[in-house]
Amino acid sequence: MRVILNKKMLIVSLIVLAILFPLFVPNQYYIHILTLAFIWTIAVYGLNLISGFTGYLSLAQAGFFAIGAYSLGLLTVKAGMSFWLAFILAPLITSIFGLLIGLVALRTKEHFFAIYTLCVGYIIYLVIDKWDRLTEGVRGLMGIPSPADIGPISFSTPLGQYYFVFVVLLLVIFLVYRIVNSLTGRSFIAIRNSEQLAQSLGISTMKNKLTSFVLSTFFAGVAGALYASFIRFIGPEISYTTVVFDLLTYMIVGGIGTLSGPLIGTLLIVWLSQNLQFLQDYRMLVFGPLLTMLIIFSPGGIVGSFHSWQLKRQERKRLNTGSLNN
């Protein structure tokens, strides 16, 4: 019971902290960075659903992120649609692409799935890069509107956008929490555990994998749409392979297949790379070895390691009290 209370307190205080953060740090730059980090976190939550919980490493997440971003951009800039309608449509369009690609991709397994989705991601990049007439190619798509005002609430200031993205992030985390703790979520975990076992219990694995994959692309689409409306300029590089590996790093450092991992990993890495700004691209010389060490010594990431440490402690406690009783 105390653990649950503590957890609740922790979550509430974190939310309060995030709400008050802009008041303590009036520096616009930090608010900008944190807003971006929240947007990436949403994409990582999607990635974590298919890769962490279902066990299918999808390397097309940046591609779907870009589909979400370009859907919003094209619908508002070229089709002249109202922002909010485009903002709702963008993740749905992304999910439709996800469904079609998932139907083919999920026939493969393990590293073949990873390679296949890597190719899909690269094809998405190529299409965006080369289809000048639709996407403006390397010039990028400019003049994407900020979220339109709703009555007195304005989203055009950095502060307004920060809170907007934060609320969406909270919604996403809540949704993922509900999914993971439902029978559907446990079916994902069962598939990760052993697809054959899941099948022999009557779980239709294709349907569940597809659900997980489409959900992951939906969240990528949400993140992409937020990104486009926040930065207001998008180019093909947001779908490039390096972005996938950034997302992957956030997820692995935070803890693959955990609920709080994506948030912790993304914030930590973004914070670290801000502090290592002075090293320029040599930052990667720090991140590379760090990541390698982490994968070798603690593949569960920060949250995963914390969980196993907690379990060990509980087990020791149980053994100690057990021996006292005897």
């Binding site: 029978l183 446990r186 054959q196 022999s200 779980i203 694995t205």
Partner: protein, 235 residues
């Protein structure tokens, strides 16, 4: 109820099961005997739809089920309790059981009822229902694996080597439970290496050798068969 006719399964060039003819009547406990790699598990995998037959057919209540997807087969009433007590280690005992009821997920009432039945059969699972599956002992894990399979309300249950790695006393209990499940109306197809105990509860037995069925008959006939005695009963 369940019938295999000339069932043949290949893994690449390797033929795992050749021309197996098995027939299971309603209410039977049929035992498949045989050494490791003789083809028992492959037969189960074929019935569960996890591998396709190269030739032959599998009939359930007179209809062919070959080519049906594994989840359809579970829905129809054939469930497998796989070897090695494969559980979901980071889920609780009750969550593991709930996964077994996946095909009935919309029928909450029925799930409650099945859950009660499983707890009645294995009271220890009720006591440990909130524990992680990986914290259970070997025998309890086997009970959980069987209980989970029962949650799908099977008409036929395929049990793959439930006695592996269990202490003799626990094995005896396990077989009593299996008999109990059978008495409650579930037909059982059992793969075992522990021939003595298995045949003692069986209504019929098949002996596998290198992927094909070498001997079949009533337990009494198998007990008196010279070959079977030598190979499996150590006498």
């Amino acid at each position: 109820m369940l019938e295999l006719r000339g069932a043949t399964v290949n893994y690449g060039n390797f033929s795992a099961v050749q021309q197996a003819d098995i027939s299971v009547e309603e209410g039977d406990i049929v035992v498949l005997l045989g050494a490791n790699g003789a083809g028992k598990s492959t037969t189960f995998r074929a019935i569960s739809g996890l591998v396709r037959l190269v030739s032959g057919e599998i009939l359930f209540k007179g209809d062919s089920i070959d080519g049906k997807s594994p989840d359809k087969i579970v829905q129809m009433g054939i469930v497998q309790c796989a070897e090695d007590r494969k559980l979901f280690p980071q889920m609780s005992v009750e969550q593991n059981l709930m996964m077994g009821a996946y095909v009935h997920r919309k029928n909450k009432k029925q799930i409650r009822k099945s859950l009660e039945e499983v707890y009645e059969l294995f009271p220890i699972l009720y006591d440990k229902r909130t524990n992680f599956a990986h914290s259970l002992s070997g025998g309890q894990q086997q009970m959980l694996a069987i209980g989970r399979a029962l949650m799908s309300k099977p008409k036929v249950m395929l049990l793959d080597e439930p006695s592996t790695g269990l202490a003799p006393l626990v094995v005896e209990q396990m077989f009593k439970s299996i008999q109990q499940i059978n008495n409650n109306g579930t037909t059982i197809l059992l793969a075992e290496q522990n021939a003595k105990v298995a045949l003692s509860i069986a209504t019929k037995g098949y002996v596998y050798e290198n992927g094909s069925i070498a001997v079949e008959g009533k337990p009494k006939e198998l007990f008196s068969n010279e070959k079977v005695r030598k190979a499996y009963l150590g006498a």
